[in-house]
Every structure is written in structure tokens, then in C-alpha cells.
Subunit: 325 residues, 2 copies
């Protein structure tokens, strides 16, 4: 199985470890139901750029961390991410993700819940294979943060949000796991607490930028490419940064609130609103906001001794801000 | 909050620690959604005899284990059990458990999936608080075993089973967690690998007996007491020990197979079959089978130095075999 980042430069210093992550994620299903191994294969084949393991491996590489434990960490983080996606797709009733059928489409809800649970178990097993108790605690706390955030998002659908709500939400949803990737990599490396804290912030900044760009791409992508309607979040009543910025420009426009909060708003109502948002210039403003997080990340990297991994992390930050779908 | 075993003698040596387990399970929800803390309170209040933490605490006490870490272990095991019940109730569509509304009845499926996930995270956090990497690995493996077993059970509904299938199923469903309780308690105690193995077997035997008795009570209980129809497992197409023993007496009775495997069997068909099973003497035979596991457990305990905890574990084994609903 080939890793998915081989054509991207920042992967160069960690080619071998990314392959090892790939293998570790698929191992350890012997003795369990064949269907579970197949489900994990299906999920892992259906995509993902392994960007979270890449961040963990590059950070650990930059800090001289234990290579074998970093591979276990990378595999653990990607499986944790995969498990949350499985339960997410179930909750949304999504039938497709990245152009491939979700488990939810192929299996019953019962089997999907249990498969997600099984992948959590495999992720926890890999986390334990780092042999680090502090990392296990971070792992458990991050899972709690992610799930708490999803539940908060679920309760806040069709409610208006402010910038602070939004930041909390994307931290829980995305940045917390990037933060785990860098912080845990530092714990597996011979560095002091100041460096741990500094690369934790690095993961946070990269993760926040990553999710803001995701939320931008939801607005700018074409339905054929992203496999779901443009601005699908907004259509479900979920307010992300472009909409927030648009509402800041037109603070007294009750029309916007009405469309978002009204369960019976039509697709045409949303089409009009989405067109206004796209034409308003807020997409560029949102990109600037993501850019500020990437600038912070670069600043943190500048303070680290030069290394191929440091350079690769800088490239990764650039990739995150410039990527398209 | 009072523990639920205070009127049972075997709890005497661990009164204080059981209260601490109770507190640890409810702690650590600060900073998360209020609804999650409330859901955990609801779930923990709605019952459970804390028999798994009791087994862990008594085993650890018998072996001179670290009291604080044993409390974290006990709380972790009970929360792991609770999380699997939450997802189980969702999968079954159960609205009641032990006479109290399930989360599934109060909440949407989405919120229920996520609450189960959150409780897994809290269980993992408590497992990490034992500060033992080997225990974390056991914890992750046990979760994988339980979930794999549930999925296997899900796939095998309305299929005929043999004794071996049944043992595998109740190991995954119940005995694996009792085994974790005793084995992990031994790892938190100053004992060698022979004692670890011997108390692992103790947990296995207690857990197997526990589930066989549960399966007997499903046949002998009255609907008003157990809150579900008599022999609800069989009515759902799930074959447990009493039915297996009955089929061994009448190996060529295709009538039994037809009722079990036919999706359109009526409640009356099942009533007749269940009455035949209850009248056939297999309930006593099943009790003897549970008794053999308890005898094994007692034999293992006899080899341990005398202590109040050892005596309490003997009482606990007796309680398991004699309990009613």
C-alpha cells in the first residue's frame, strides 16, 4: 500500500516512517472478525493524506525523538481520527466521504458504531505502544475534547455563533489532534518542557489554519469535486468563518439569521445567501486569518535548529494554506 | 452517593475504596458540556452493583497492590463497562435498563453515540492514571475483544450456535472484563508472573460464571422484575446455554431450529418453546456448569494466603452463583 503524500516534498524526510505508519494501522487485526480488518482496509484506502502522522513524524524527527515510538504515535493519531470520522458519518447519515462509500452506507448503524469503537481500541493500543504514560493521558484527554466538541456542535446547530464559539469548535474538532501530534512527539524526544510547550503551540497553529482552510474550501469548492453541495455546513445550520465574517459586515441583516435559523429555508434561499457570501470578499479575509496562524507556526519553527524536518514542516504549513480540493 | 453493595458482606474490606471509585467515575467532567456530566450521573445512578470494581479492589487488596492505583483501575473498568452498555442500548434500541430510562430513550442516537465515546475517553484517562503501560495495553485489548464479540453476536443472530461459540461469546462479552480486573490488579501489586496468571484465571472463571447465571436468570426471571420479556435473548434469535443444553437433549428436533431461525415466528411459538426449555431440567444443568467455574475460582483462591480480601472473593463467588434478580 502506497502512502498518499509521496508526490509532496514535505514527505521526503519521513518516507519510510509514513509507510511504517500505514502498516501499523492495518496490523493487529488477526484474531478478530475478518469484517473488521476489511472495514479498516476500506477506510484507510478511501483516502486521507496522513497529514496528522506527517506532522507527528516531522516534529519528532526535528527534535530527535525515538523513531519507533513516533511511528506508533502517528498510527495511533490517524486511527483516532479515522474512528471519529466513522462515528461522524453515522451521525450525519453521510453515505460518501472523499468519493468513496462510507461504512455507514455499506453497513447497518449497529455495525458502524461497533467498528468505530474497535478502531478506538486499536488507536488506544498503538498509543500504549509508545510506552509513555503521559502520552496516554494526552490521548484520552484529546478524545474527550473531540467528542465534547462534536456534541457541542450537535447541540448548537441552527444557533448563531460568535468568533469565540467558532474558535472553540475548530480547536476541539481539528486543532486538538494536531496539538496532540506535536506535543506527544516532543514527549517522545529528548527535549525540555519549554520545547514541549513551544511545539504544542505549533500543532495548535497548524491545526487551526487547517480547519479554517477546510471551511473556506467548503465555500469555494464545486459540488462535483467535494462530493457534497457547496457550503454544506451552512445548509445544515452550522456557521463557519466565512459566514461569521459576512455577518460582521452586515450586523443588522435579519434576513441572514432567518435563513440560517429557519428549518424550512429552501435550497434557493441558501443558494442566494451563499452567492452573497462568496461575492463579498470574506473568503480573502478568512484566508488572511488562516495565514496569521501559519505565520505563528513559521515563527515557532524559526526558533528551532535547522534540519530537513524543520524545513519540511515549513513546507507543510505552506501546503496547508495553499491547498485546494 | 452511596455505593450499591453496602449490604453485601464481601464489600466490607473495600468499603472506602468503593466510595472512592464512585467519586472518581464522576470527577473529571469539569470543562466539558454540562449535559455530559449529567448523562454520566444518570447512567451511574441507574444502577450497577459495581461488581467489576469490587473484583479488582479485592484482588489487588489480597495481593498488597497500590490502593490509589487500584481505585483508578476500578473506576476505569466500570466506566469501560458503562460505555459499552450505552452503545449496546443504542444498537438494541433499548429504552429501559434496570428499570430506568436509557440515554437512548432520552437522547437522540447521535448524542448517545458521542456520550458513549466520551465515557470511553474518561475510562482511558482513568486507566492511564494507574501509571502502568502494560495495564493500558490490556485495557485497549479488552475493549477490542468486547467490541469484536458484540459484532460477532450481531452477525450471528438467528444462527445456530454450539458450545464453543457460546463460550467465546460470553468470554468476549463478560469474562474478558473480569479477567482484566484481576490481571490488571495483579500488575499493580508486588507479585510475580505466576500469580498474575493465576488471578487472571480467577477473573476468567468468575466472569464466565457471572454470564452463565445472567443467561439463566433471563429464563427464570419474571417479566415484571427483569423489565423485559422472559428469554428475551432467545426471542431475538440469540442462543444461550439453557437453549444449547435443550438442543443437546433433542438433537434432531427441527421444530426448535425453525422457531429460532424463522424471522416470522410468533410470540406464542416462542412462549411454547421457552416453557419446554424451563420444564426440561436444563436450568439446573446450566447452574451446575456455572458452579464448575466457581469451583475453579475457589480452588485458585485456596492457594492464596488467608486475608479478609481472599475470604470476600470467596463470598463474592458464592453470591454470583446464588444471586437472583
Amino acid at each position: 500500500m502506497k502512502a498518499r503524500l509521496t508526490n509532496i516534498n514535505f514527505i521526503n524526510p519521513i518516507q519510510i516512517q509514513i509507510q511504517q505508519v500505514e502498516e501499523r494501522m492495518r496490523a493487529h487485526t488477526n484474531g478478530y472478525l475478518i469484517e473488521l480488518g476489511e472495514a479498516i482496509d476500506h477506510l484507510l484506502t478511501s483516502g486521507g493524506k496522513r497529514i496528522r502522522p506527517a506532522v507527528a513524524l516531522l516534529t519528532g524527527g526535528m527534535l530527535g525523538g525515538n523513531p519507533e515510538r513516533l511511528v506508533a504515535l502517528g498510527a495511533s493519531i490517524e486511527l483516532l481520527h479515522t474512528a471519529t470520522l466513522v462515528h461522524d458519518d453515522l451521525i450525519d447519515g453521510s453515505l460518501m466521504r472523499r468519493g468513496i462509500e462510507t461504512l455507514n452506507a455499506k453497513w447497518s448503524p449497529a455495525a458502524t458504531v461497533l467498528t468505530g469503537d474497535f478502531i478506538f481500541a486499536q488507536a488506544a493500543k498503538l498509543a500504549a505502544e509508545t510506552e509513555s504514560v503521559i502520552l496516554m493521558k494526552l490521548f484520552a484527554r484529546t478524545l474527550a475534547t473531540i467528542v465534547n466538541g462534536e456534541l457541542a456542535q450537535f447541540f448548537s446547530m441552527r444557533k448563531l455563533a460568535n468568533r469565540n464559539d467558532y474558535y472553540q469548535r475548530i480547536y476541539a474538532k481539528t486543532a486538538s489532534l494536531f496539538e496532540l501530534a506535536t506535543q506527544a512527539a516532543a514527549y517522545l524526544s529528548p527535549v525540555g518542557s519549554e520545547v514541549v510547550e513551544s511545539v504544542r503551540q505549533l500543532g495548535y497553529d497548524i491545526g487551526m489554519a487547517f480547519q479554517i482552510v477546510d471551511d473556506i474550501l467548503d465555500f469555494t469548492g464545486e459540488q462535483a469535486t467535494i462530493g457534497k453541495p457547496v457550503a454544506s455546513d451552512l445548509r445544515q445550520g452550522l456557521i463557519t468563518l466565512p459566514t461569521l465574517l459576512f455577518m460582521e459586515i452586515y450586523p443588522n441583516n435579519s434576513e441572514i439569521e432567518k435563513i440560517i435559523q429557519n428549518n424550512s429555508s429552501s435550497a434557493e434561499d441558501f443558494d442566494r445567501l451563499i452567492e452573497s457570501i462568496r461575492a463579498s470578499g470574506v473568503i480573502d479575509k478568512a484566508k488572511e486569518e488562516a495565514g496569521r496562524f501559519v505565520d505563528n507556526a513559521r515563527l515557532i519553527l524559526t526558533a528551532q535548529p535547522a534540519s530537513p524536518e524543520r524545513d519540511a514542516l515549513e513546507e507543510l504549513a505552506t501546503y496547508i494554506i495553499n491547498r485546494s480540493l
